[in-house]
């Protein structure tokens, strides 16, 4: 089965994303069409299936194409906003409270364990029961 798609409507990225969703069920091969703006998608099912299944596969693929187009459009529209948020998160300087925490840490030695993180779970919880039994 083959489907010819116009790249003006469905960019290559959208077609690849849609095809990726169907890799589990069938073998897919893409080819540049005779016209430069066309991409031909060849489908080959992994197991022998009925014509009805192929029809449903084609319908599912066209739906997936629309879904991927929408996601592509949204991603393009929000590109600047995403870049702004990530840029802000990465380049925001330390606040005063963060610096205070760092200064407090300087006084601590690497052996110190004020939060009790270095104590193994067995020492903290496991041996208590044994000791309790021993005392009884």
């Amino acid at each position: 089965m083959k489907i010819v798609l116009n790249q003006k409507i469905y960019p290559t990225e959208v077609i690849l994303n849609a095809c990726y969703m169907f890799l589990e069920n069938c073998f897919i091969f893409l080819e540049q069409g005779k016209k430069d703006e066309a991409i031909v998608v060849y489908f080959k099912t992994k197991k022998k299936k009925s014509a009805k299944f192929l029809k449903s596969l084609k319908d599912a693929f066209t739906n997936e194409l629309l879904h991927c187009s929408l996601r592509y459009q949204i991603s393009r529209n929000n590109k600047k906003l995403r870049e702004y948020i990530v840029g802000r998160a990465l380049y925001t300087p330390f606040s005063n409270s963060d610096l205070d925490i760092l200064e407090d840490d300087k006084e601590l030695d690497y052996v110190d364990d004020p939060l009790g993180i270095a104590i193994p779970w067995e020492d903290k919880f496991g041996k208590k029961k044994k000791n309790e039994k021993a005392s009884v």
Binding site: L16, N17, C19, L23, F27, I28, F29, L30, Q32
Partner: protein, 66 residues
């Protein structure tokens, strides 16, 4: 000897190189540049199923390259 042609405007070279490396244990293949196409020449008697799996792998790798 069989040949698989992958359009340069659709598939990425990086994806093809990755696929050739991934399948080198199963089939003896070589990547060639042929104008607007990348050609994968399969020297061993690879089954059609394996070739189909190869093209699927290239498609998946190309998608990840985006």
């Amino acid at each position: 000897m069989k040949k698989l042609a992958f359009s340069k405007s659709i598939y990425k070279k990086r994806a093809l190189v990755e696929a050739v490396n991934a399948f080198k244990e199963h089939m003896n293949c070589e990547l060639r540049d042929n104008g607007s196409y990348f050609e994968v020449v399969v020297n061993s008697n690879a089954e059609t199923l394996l070739m189909d799996e190869f093209s699927n792998y290239v498609l998946g790798a190309t998608k990840k390259c985006l």
